[in-house]
Amino acid sequence: MSTKPKDSTDLAAGLLLIAAAAFFGWQTMGLPIGTSLRMGPGYFPMVLSIILFVLGVIITLKSFGREGEAFGRIAWRGILFILPAPIFFGLTVRGLGFVPALFFTTLIASQASIRMKPLHALVLAVAVTILSTLIFSYGLGLPFRRFGPWVQF
């Protein structure tokens, strides 16, 4: 790697902001800009994209020439199991229904910790599912299908 000092946190932040600005700016291309009297849907987002781009460039440039703090540890296991949990719930809540979907969601999320033992995870998932079904489905009467078409026999 380069020997010059640089703040890698700020460098990454700046580059990501530039990327985000580029994305929004590119998406704004297809929208009518309008005039400052009658602003089109693209006017304000375009202005914002430009500001974001400028800020990103400044942050990137300022990251050179000084030492930054380290990133620290990254929770890979957490990312791997926590983030898929709501996605799984979204994919299955209609098909499997509320009860099975929630059970598996909790089970997936519980795997994010190395300290969770399989049996404990199972007990926890069952308890959460039963209590949530009682509270949300029966108690508050939220309109969820408890068991969906995929598990109807």
Binding site: G90, R94, T105, A121
Partner: protein, 502 residues
């Protein structure tokens, strides 16, 4: 006196059996969440928001408000007992509170915190009742240009009060504004930034954004390092302070209430700033400043009063202008909109029962907290021993249910995962999430008022500086920006935040 008849009406609304029950549930849930480290008030409210949709508007807002100040109390409990503030606003309490606990005065510290908070809550509730109505009268004169300038000021303040780099906080505001643009343009009906996904035509769900950026990012941060916490449970001494200790706390509590009430009105996270400012004031005024950091009573009494007063008065901009002072207030706005109430100066005249009911419930909620918290301390302490790896799967399940129940839109759940990742990335890159959320909530309002102001002025941008109130607000925003970029102030600001992180 109109004030008293209004307050009486408020108390009759808030005092109904059902509303008392919702206030109690809110306060209990709030304390519970505040006590549990690793999940903040913002994420909690975001998660519990959907549950309150089934309730009457008044009841739902009373419960949400209860959660908010309950979380403040709960946060101070963990700050004192395990040196781990459950809420960022009680970070300062941890400094001296934990030292008191180590010296065997945990009970005293907890009691001082509770009594100070109650006093501050009582005073600031009256302040809200006194100052909110005249401010709404001013707010009713606001046109589109004034609203635009006011929101600019609010966003700039949130930047000034955020941790770390000002530039990055500014970028977060702009990114938040852009994320707020996602969805259908209100004037032309053109879909923007939806990537052709029709499920995002109504915009990104702000519950999803808040849960992701605050809740899930927080869980991921906690999972980086799974170590045990040490709990100071053994030596909680008697709870009631002695007469001497009571006398010692009067001054700090009064000053803390004053400082907190003023700073709480400022947009951008007043409660955190309030507790720190109060700590500095007490340290300056103290006869033996060396005591601070070693378990000074004033170091607990002052900041605790200040943060509670600040939490309360931050309702003033919300109730009068419909402008959120912090992320929690942004969520309250979301709750009001979903309940069909347009937040702003009209609430007080069109829905007086809602307005005064919420104010009265603040005081009732504070009373409940004092009555509940002191005897229930043992229970809260037990909760601290629940291991984190049991908590977060439960939190994830609640998040999923909560977000889905807002609109039964499965795409909101995918958005949660995306925002969770974004929030975690932001925390790794030391970007603050609060300005992002404020930008997101204010984005559509900002754009609407900008466009309306420009139409009203026939395309003349000078309308923002020729209208006096608007010009004043913009000037203040500019002043704040200049101040935070000045080298001396910047250094001072860094010191403030480093110390409050300790």
């Amino acid at each position: 006196m109109e004030l008293f008849s209004n307050l009486a009406m408020g108390f009759s609304v808030a005092g109904s059996l059902a509303n008392l029950a919702f206030c109690l549930i809110g306060v209990l849930l709030g304390t519970l969440i505040g006590v549990l480290p690793g999940i903040g008030a913002t994420a909690t409210i975001a998660m519990l928001l959907p549950i309150t949709f089934q309730l009457e508007p008044v009841s739902s807002l009373i419960m949400l408000a209860g959660i908010y100040y309950g979380a403040q109390y709960g946060g101070s409990t963990t700050a004192i007992l395990i040196n781990m503030p459950g809420e960022s606003s009680s970070a300062v309490t941890a400094i001296d509170g934990y030292q008191m606990a180590r010296k065997g005065r945990a009970g005293t510290a907890l009691a001082v915190a509770a009594l100070g908070s109650f006093f501050a809550g009582t005073v600031s509730t009256f302040l809200v009742a006194i100052f909110a109505p005249p401010l709404t009268a001013i707010a009713l004169k606001f046109g589109a240009a004034e609203y635009f300038s006011l929101m600019v000021l609010g966003l700039v303040m949130s930047v000034a009060l955020a941790h770390g780099s000002v530039l990055k906080a500014l970028a977060m505001v702009v990114l938040g504004l852009l994320l707020g643009m996602v969805g259908t343009d209100i004037y032309t009906g053109t879909p923007r930034f939806t990537m052709g996904i029709t499920q995002y035509a109504d915009g990104l769900n702000f519950v999803a954004l808040a849960v992701g950026v605050f809740g899930i990012a927080e869980i991921l941060r906690n999972l980086e390092d799974e170590t045990d916490r040490e709990v100071m449970t053994k030596n909680i001494n008697r709870l009631l302070p002695t007469r001497d200790e009571l006398r010692q706390m009067i001054g700090p509590v009064l000053r803390g209430t004053g400082v907190g009430s003023v700073l709480g009105i400022l947009p951008g996270g007043g409660a955190i700033l309030a507790s720190f400012a109060s700590y500095t004031v007490e340290k300056k005024l103290s006869k033996n400043p060396r005591e601070f950091g070693q378990g000074a009573l004033a170091g607990v009494a002052g900041p605790e009063s200040a943060n509670n007063a600040g939490a309360q008065t931050s309702f003033i901009p919300l109730l009068t202008l419909g402008i959120p002072a912090n992320p929690v207030m942004a969520l309250m706005i979301g709750a009001m909109i979903i309940q069909g109430i347009v937040p702003g100066p009209n609430v007080v005249s069109e829905q007086p029962e809602l307005f005064w009911g919420i104010i009265a419930s603040m005081w009732i909620g504070n009373l409940m907290l004092v009555v509940l918290n002191l005897p229930l301390i043992g229970l809260w302490v037990k909760l601290l021993t629940v291991p984190y790896f049991v908590l977060f799967p439960i939190i994830m399940a609640m998040c999923s249910i909560g977000v889905y129940s807002v609109a039964s839109n499965t795409f909101d759940l995918y958005a949660v995962a995306f925002f969770g990742l974004l929030g975690y990335l932001m925390s790794k890159l030391r970007c603050e999430p609060a300005p992002l959320l404020l930008g997101f909530v204010l984005g559509p309002l900002l754009e609407e008022n900008l466009r309306r102001a420009m139409i009203l002025s026939r395309g003349d941008a000078s309308t923002f500086v020729t209208r006096p109130i608007s010009a004043l607000l913009l000037l203040m925003a500019l002043g704040v920006l200049v101040l935070v970029f000045l080298p001396q102030i910047r250094k001072r600001r860094d010191e403030v935040f480093t110390e409050s992180d300790a």
